[in-house]
Symmetry: C2
Subunit: 329 residues, 2 copies
């Protein structure tokens, strides 16, 4: 019988071979050859080159990704908002008193244009009332049920089918090269965690996002986490570096976003010393996905685009850099 020490050394050697083998395979097959793909591959090659001055030890290979508009679509509205509105609809069906509210009325009439023009605080109040007050476990079940059935209005597909194939490949490529991949999103942690592991290979504990207040209560003699109608943390804009500080405690060496809400995270990543990669997904493909930037109400990309160009960050042109957008296309 070989000694445990020998076995361990052999295992390490074979794991290294397997990693090398994975590296032979052409990475990022859904990316066209071009400056974006080249910049990614060059960066990964640099930080993994043992002995090179650009080498970064694996534990410091922290990669953070925005979610909405970066890893999956976000038009015509954030998918979490679509879910929260459906929760309000369901609550109104169960509780007729709610239907007197003008926001709820407009929602039930399915007049999304009129709804968008309404006072955002009034909408927020309805959403808070209908998306809190239950246990975190109950809310989790509602999210899973919705994701299993609700369809995107344009593509007629489950929302989880609207993840970007090239970005999933990028996440896999980074992990194969020793990176730890995180989501750092303005979206809520509860809405993302049920599906990010399957969709992206990112487990719940690597999902950083906005947080609703939860409170420990005793229900029927058992401890239960109840969702409170209060936002505990907004993981957007300047909140993103704070979310990274709280949840990771290391400065990322790679960050990807798609909107001005990601700019502080990109700046924060760029501010560290050593090799850094800052990337932006630019929505340029109205045919396969959507085309929008400086004037969009959802995912506005204005200042971050200017800064990316000025500082030489990588701007991914969805139309020209990606062979495919969604897996079903």
């Amino acid at each position: 019988m070989p000694t445990p020490g020998l076995l361990r050394r052999l295992a390490v050697a074979f794991a290294a071979c397997a990693l090398a083998a994975a590296a032979w395979a052409q990475p990022l097959p859904s990316w066209n050859e071009g400056p974006a793909k080249q910049a990614i591959v060059r960066f990964v090659t640099d930080v993994t080159a043992a002995g090179a001055p650009t080498f970064v030890p694996p534990e410091e290979r922290v990669a953070v990704f925005d979610n909405d508009g970066t890893l999956w679509a976000e038009q015509p509205m954030y998918f979490q908002l679509a879910f929260m509105l459906d929760m309000a609809r369901k609550a109104a069906e169960a509780n007729p008193k709610l239907r007197d509210d003008p926001v709820v009325k407009t929602l039930l009439a399915n007049d999304m244009k009129a709804l968008a023009a309404m006072d955002h605080k009034a909408i927020g109040k309805v959403l808070a009332a209908t998306n809190t007050g239950m246990s975190a476990a109950e809310y989790d079940r509602a999210i899973r049920a919705w994701l299993a059935t609700a369809k995107h209005p344009r593509f007629g597909r489950l929302y989880t089918e609207l993840t970007y194939v090239p970005m999933v490949e990028l996440l896999e490529y980074l992990r194969a090269n020793g990176f730890k991949t995180y989501i750092v999103s303005g979206g809520g942690i509860q809405f993302m965690r049920p599906w990010t592991e399957k969709a992206y290979g990112i487990p719940p504990e690597q999902v950083i996002g906005s947080v609703a207040e939860v409170k420990l209560e005793t229900v029927g003699g058992r401890p239960v986490l109840m969702r409170e109608p209060k936002v505990a943390f907004v993981d957007d804009g300047p909140g993103k570096p704070v979310g990274i500080y709280r949840g990771i405690g290391r400065q990322p060496i790679l960050a990807f976003g798609n909107s001005d809400g990601d700019l502080p995270m990109l700046q924060w990543t760029a501010a560290g010393s050593g090799p850094r990669f800052m990337g932006i997904v630019h929505h340029t493909d109205g045919a396969r996905e959507y085309a929008y930037n400086r004037n969009s109400k959802v995912g506005k990309l204005d200042k971050a685009l200017s800064e990316a160009v000025a500082r030489g960050w990588t701007v991914v042109d969805m139309k020209n850099d990606w062979k495919r957008v969604f897996a079903f296309q």
Copy 2:
């Protein structure tokens, strides 16, 4: 040349062998044979037994540990408090105006008994004023410098030498069996993260704790996280399940604590379905460490001890269950 697929399969097979080899070695060498060690080994055997009804898949093997009094000592005062008091001392040396404050005066006179009797709010105010207002990076450097030099008053050792050898073995044993180990502490994340990886094998991103508010500011054209004199989150008592919800998003299957502040975390862990392990470190060893429980000002263990006994949780008797406490003994 073997194919990448073959290499990967071989690597997996060898990694499995190495794990098996690690399992042959007698686990927990610094634990005496007894009910505590038996309960731990039985639990780990149960949840790793493929095909058994008690089997838990690796991604769900979440183990959470309190830090102060559970993984390292906490007497005669929390080590973080000793650090924060030293920060106040240093600030008073640099800024004579501060010395007019009665708390600072008492502190500089090194009259710890008088200090303990002072108004806790007044002490808190001094600590907040002298432990915030700098960047998170600066504070990190101060913590590292302190840990490299400050000595424990009784043992004359660096504070990081006061980690419990049997608990470090337990963390290693759990990880060797596919567990992911976390700290869930009332202590601050910034104070723990610089040293937990080396001391426990727990990386910064698996350290959950109390959080000071930090704010993103621009200093000299660069983004900087500044420490604000405000507590953003208290990870103690009922806050511990909330911290787990925020930072992990999975219910632990194993929890270890040592005081009443850990009771909600232990109850929360116990409330999940399937195999569960709840453990308490009972400080019974005045000779090698300290002996305290129901009446202690630091690490009071009263309700949690009663509940542990009533519910059959594992109570570790430091004196009888551990062959060694500290590595230097």
